[in-house]
Symmetry: C2
Subunit: 476 residues, 2 copies
């Protein structure tokens, strides 16, 4: 008589056979995704309703489950890997990333402590150093010094960790003793990402303590206004705690001047966090490295390989200049996690670098992607994306109907129809509901614009040309 554990788990050959089928499904999906409409047109609730109300009592075979990927799930998918995805920012992945993720899922090791899988920690430390090299980032963040990097799920979490570290540092690691939290203030431009205000709220400062700094004509944070606001806050007993410089804002990829902001932060002794979530990848191309000028003076820095660097979600990269501050802010060491390696002080326990305890082996994705493409290959690809954006910008600016509304800094082109907001909005809607391409319309300083972001793994020049054709068609 066999026991449930002998009978019910897939044996190795079944794992192989069904995992192959899953791979085949993915390859077919990616090969054919171009023919699908980008945005799902599912009605709210329709996918939910097509699923039974309770789990099945009896186990089902894999083929019938896989079939439901096509029949139930597919109608409700918006296809981020579609070659004509120009909406939001990219969340691209790639073959090497997929292969690495299969290994990570299969190994299923936990990297919470060095001891719980040393390679999970040490490959990550090396990869974070590699990224500094790849992007030409300052050695202040390198693991060989006082700094270091860690993979987080998203920039939202990275920013929160930066704020926790800044908050603890400014309060002398005694936020509970002093009751200072409600006096702490955080500064960023009105163009910064919503995750900054969310972090300010989560950290217990409250939205009222989030200061929006004025921007210049190019939507870059105005360092003079920052200086003025910090000075005023300090004068009335507030505690300026962190400034976020945004490299590549969400709406228009405006690039704050990190070096000018750093000067203000130095003057007032305030933590500087640089959020380069989408834009960071651009710095793989040497001509784009200006976006990070001054980052050597920041206390923390983050960018998302899972956006534009062919590394599948989730893989955010976060560095601090002084890892001790971060670790002291986040470390709670219970008895059951004590071990010799940790107590030797010779190893990194990444659980103390972020909010979760458990963590999967995400560094494999970075390792496989950087090795498969090589630094040269990544430079060429990112350079090509920038060329696409330049080409698209040129078409728009030469067309009498259209206008490039904001300075293009990298792979995002922001445009508006000269007939005004209603027309622009109507065209954006038509594009998305037609379904051949996807774009994100938004409002910047009262004006309706359409954003085109170029960075998909599956995108080729023909799709960029197709975007321009679709736009002209929709405008007619």
């Amino acid at each position: 008589m066999t026991s449930p554990s002998e009978e019910l788990h897939w044996d190795p050959e079944t794992v192989r056979k069904n995992a192959y089928k899953a791979v085949d499904w993915v390859v077919d999906y990616l090969s054919g995704v171009e023919s699908r409409r980008v945005y799902s047109d599912a009605e709210p609730g329709s996918i939910f309703e097509s699923l039974p109300a309770a789990p099945p009592e009896k186990g089902e075979d894999f083929d019938s489950i896989l079939k439901d990927m096509d029949e139930v799930v597919m109608p409700g998918l918006t296809h981020w890997q579609h070659p004509s995805w120009f909406a939001f920012f990219n969340a691209n992945t790639s073959g090497p990333s997929l292969a690495a993720d299969i290994l990570s899922s299969g190994l299923a090791v936990q990297g919470m402590l060095w001891q719980t899988s040393p390679a999970c920690t040490e490959v990550e430390t090396r990869m974070m150093d590699w990224l500094l090299d790849l992007l030409g980032l300052p050695q202040e963040f390198h693991s060989s010094g006082a700094g270091g990097g860690v993979i987080q799920d998203t920039a939202s979490s990275a920013t929160l960790c930066a704020l926790i570290a800044a908050r603890e540092k400014v309060s002398g690691f005694a936020v509970d003793q002093d009751g200072v939290t409600e006096k702490m203030t955080v500064y960023a431009s009105g163009q910064t990402h919503s995750s900054i205000e969310k972090a300010v709220r989560i950290a217990g400062l409250g939205s009222r303590q989030f200061r929006q700094v004025a921007t210049d004509a190019d939507l870059r944070l105005d360092p003079a206004d920052l200086d003025r606001q910090i000075t005023e806050d300090r004068a009335r007993g507030q505690i300026p705690t962190m400034v976020v410089a945004t490299v590549g804002t969400t709406a228009t990829t405006a690039v704050d001047s990190v070096s000018e902001i750093a000067e203000v932060c130095r003057k007032h002794d305030v933590w500087l966090h640089v959020d380069s979530a989408h834009a960071g990848t651009a710095a793989i191309v040497p001509e784009m490295r200006w976006i990070h000028d001054g980052v050597e003076d920041a206390d923390s820095f983050t960018f998302n390989p899972h956006k534009w660097m062919f590394v599948g979600f989730d893989c955010n990269a976060f560095w601090v200049k002084d890892r001790q501050v971060l670790v002291q802010a986040l470390s709670v060491l219970p008895e059951y996690l004590r071990n010799e390696a940790t107590e030797s002080g010779k190893v990194i326990d990444y659980r103390d670098w972020h909010i979760p305890l458990g963590r999967r082996f995400r560094a494999l994705k970075l390792w496989f992607v950087m090795r498969s493409y090589g630094a040269e290959g990544l430079r060429q690809l990112i350079d090509e994306h920038l060329q696409w954006a330049r080409w698209f910008e040129k078409q728009v600016s030469e067309d009498p109907q259209w206008e490039v509304t904001h300075r293009r800094t990298m792979n995002l082109v922001c445009i508006a129809h000269k007939d005004g907001c209603d027309r622009t909005e109507a065209i954006a809607k038509a594009l998305n509901s037609e379904g051949q391409i996807s774009v994100t319309p938004t409002t910047v300083e009262g004006r309706r614009i359409i954003r085109f972001c170029f960075g998909g793994t599956q995108t080729r020049m023909e799709h960029v040309e197709g975007a321009w054709e679709a736009l002209q068609r929709a405008a007619r």
Copy 2:
């Protein structure tokens, strides 16, 4: 002339070929992991040093990268999927979970908003309802009412979100107006998980505001002490904000009495969060449902399918009774995320249910696991794990050298050698360094114990017997 994007990305057949190789690697790994030592014996820094200091300039072929999985990574792995893994808690995965994760990695859709992939949201909502059914949890958390569930990365993040919601609710969503944070207090037993104190710190309350409640002889939270502490805190102007009941403590899987704790919370009008991270899965077996008695009176509840339910990390399940409180606490809606679906109020945007903005399609893992095994299969497997623990407990208690130190509530057996702590510690060390099995030694109330947790996907009765043999051998 081909462009970089035409030349450098793997074409579909290369993706298939290399993803197959990754699958083969995983199948070989899992088939052969039993012959490896469980804990890595790598020296600190050895894996790091074996990797080049910078990324390669030229791309490398997949086979040479995959070879380094064996040569560089393998020596640094601690094997959580080893059949003789009895350490910490399990972080088990399974064939169906692996297959689902391949699909999730390949689709690479973003579920931050309903609109960004409706199926990613709606399958998740349904799966969270299914889990309630599978575990016999109260309908108060069902999406058809005012509550609902969401997948988080870990219980640490879930608990933090519960605390943020409780903090905002108790301050009337005006934590910034009132400066009340430093008066807020959080209660849990001294046996609770370290993530509770970490959440208290991250949320800006500070460790001093974390109250350890006394425990009874079975290490369960003492409701009378809880009542007393809350009353005293209230009397001296503190603001009792959240109580955490732990179902299955980390050290010994002690089960707090949720219903008695709920009564105290009701009396004082304090948010009750139930942390059943590891233990939750036990409730798949009807005889174990007593562990959640009283959960219907909790405000939030969490457990980790990624621990003991054959769902690969990360997949934490978190429910709230009033989703509006959670969403109001965590929602920041910038212009570029506005869309008709969100504004209709008819859909769920899960970004407002947790800290990150981006999110991958993790519900597929739950869907595939619950359908592949069926409720019946999962019940049989968990029941078998409980039988293993019962058998092991029996061997220990019948042996004159050993003692079961704590009441066994589920699949964890805590033991000590009768010769005392030094002997127990020496045996634990010998077991882990011998490498055939892995255990976690810890100290509870001053006494050194060894924990044996039984719940691995690859574990069979022979490995449980092997654990007992290894223990006897080590004791000789």
